[in-house]
């Protein structure tokens, strides 16, 4: 297990469960909740970023890229499986999947 996600001891928690910093959901692993897992198929992806918009956990990580015409754009780099809860929204909303091309995001049973 990633040391970053190790759960704290009771002595290390602030009194009353107060949260003293913003954005700390990044330090909390929700990946273990999955029963179904989205798998990104780079070869079919058109980088429209619909999945990135819909993902409730910010689990689609981006990188800088270029269109075929040479314009700057953001592209999908990978899925952050430490935070993806396997809700399947990306699979449902992916326009490539809807056109029955690809698929660009497959939904497969989580291996146990």
């Amino acid at each position: 297990m990633n040391e970053k996600y190790r759960l704290k001891k009771w002595q290390d928690l602030p009194a009353g469960g107060v949260i003293t910093e913003g954005g700390n959901a990044a330090d909390y692993e929700t990946g273990a909740w999955r029963t179904w897992k989205p798998v990104w198929r780079k070869e079919h992806c058109i980088h429209c970023l619909t999945c990135w918009v819909f993902c409730p956990d910010g689990a689609f990580l981006l990188q800088d890229g270029r269109t075929a015409g040479g314009k700057d754009r953001k592209e999908i780099r990978e899925i952050d499986y430490s935070h993806c809860k396997g809700c399947g929204l990306c699979v449902r909303e992916c326009p490539v999947n809807k056109q029955r091309k690809g698929p660009a995001i497959e939904f497969v049973r989580e291996e146990t």
Partner: protein
């Protein structure tokens, strides 16, 4: 109690009137109207709202107080637990009254005893002086940085709350010096350091938070002892976790809470004059419960009679449960039994207490308890 609140001058009081605690907030409202305090008094539409407003004001970063009784306390139920688990040092006077039904306004301890697991510190008072003194100590205990827990100061409805007694009030400045300024812990109004209070907690953290809360109320015991000691050095009145009244060589001991203790002391004194080895252990701090200290104090006792002024339907009384647990490891283990009395304001007379001690003597002679549990002064038995 209102005088103590005037001296403490809390930032916020949110309250809803309910007999017999009403007088406290009425008197305090007069202090607010007369400009004798700078408190923001929030008059709300129910006790649920009263405790919610207290909680909001406390998380904002204020020193907060309120008062209630019986059904009012019951209506606060949800927020009692939240105030304790959010570790907000709210101080509340609970004027003990029977919790319906049938509806009744007189004294018993069913209200605060029902709230004993909510995570609040509970301190009980025999008379007005003790109630005032506990109130002066309350913010110091609750706001201690190793504690940060809400605290109930409990006293008997009408018997104490509406009786005139001679008592010593301390100087305003002396009380304020004793209490000191309020120090917030992650207050919401500190906008340079934004925080989130009351976030969701799941199975992977909830029990850790509860464990920390438990540690805090355990720590409260030594803090109560320290603050009581400082109170004694400052104002000259001595308080322990419980009061040991003529316990040194006592064979038969009554354990009781609040105003009935005054009457028991009278009976103990008269029986002592007749050479009987009787005594009283009066509970002051019920949460956290001082098991080890009480076991030590009762080590020489042969018969321990526990008086509960509340009833846990289908079970023994709540005080009895604690006392018998505390005595389990005492060698030789004394005989111990439970009597429920005084529900809804039913009187207990000195002759009843003499009879209790006489029954204790019979148990001592026969080497066994006559009845583990019974009601006192109820028609039909």
């Amino acid at each position: 109690m209102a005088e103590a609140m005037r001296q403490i001058n809390p930032d916020v009081v949110a309250a809803f009137p309910i007999t017999p605690s009403t007088q406290i907030i009425e008197d305090f409202a007069t202090f607010v109207a007369d400009g004798k305090v700078t408190t923001e008094l929030i008059t709300v539409e129910s006790e649920h709202s009263a405790m919610s407003a207290c909680l909001g004001a406390a998380t904002a970063g204020g020193r907060v107080m309120t008062a209630t009784s019986a059904n009012g306390l019951a209506l606060m139920w949800e927020m009692l637990y939240i105030a304790a688990s959010m570790r907000q040092p709210i101080v509340m006077t609970v004027v003990n009254r029977a919790l319906s039904g049938p509806i009744n306004i007189h004294c018993d301890h069913g209200d605060s005893m029902g709230a004993r697991d909510a995570g609040w510190i509970q301190i009980y008072a025999e008379n007005n002086q003790e109630a005032y003194d506990n109130m002066v100590m309350a913010p110091v205990i609750a706001e201690h940085m190793d504690v940060r827990l809400p605290l109930m100061v409990c006293l008997d409805g009408f018997i104490i709350s509406h009786s005139i007694e001679t008592m010593e009030l301390e100087e305003d400045q002396a009380v304020r010096n004793f209490i000191g300024p309020y120090r917030g812990l992650h207050p919401l109004l500190d906008t340079d350091h934004p925080v989130t209070w009351g976030a969701l907690d799941l199975h992977d953290y909830y029990i850790e938070h509860k464990r920390g809360q438990y540690a805090a109320i355990e720590t409260a015991q030594s803090v109560i002892e320290d603050v009581s000691e400082r109170f004694y050095r400052t104002f000259g009145r001595k308080y322990d976790l419980f009061e040991s009244y003529r316990l040194e060589d006592a064979e038969r001991v009554i354990v009781a809470i609040n105003s009935v203790a005054g009457e028991i002391k009278e009976v103990v004194d008269s029986l002592r004059e007749a050479g009987e080895r009787v005594g009283l252990l009066k509970i002051r701090v019920f949460r956290p419960f001082p098991y080890a200290q009480i076991a030590r104090a009762l080590r020489g006792a042969k018969v321990v009679i526990v008086l509960d002024r509340s009833t846990s339907m289908g079970a023994y009384g709540p005080l009895f449960g604690e006392i018998r647990t505390a005595l389990y490891d005492v060698e030789p283990r004394p005989l111990v039994y439970n009597r429920t009395f005084g529900l809804g304001g039913r009187e207990l007379f000195p002759d009843d207490i003499r009879e209790l001690f006489a029954e204790g003597e019979r148990c001592l002679q026969n080497g066994k308890v006559e009845k583990t549990f019974d009601f006192l002064n109820v028609r039909g038995d």
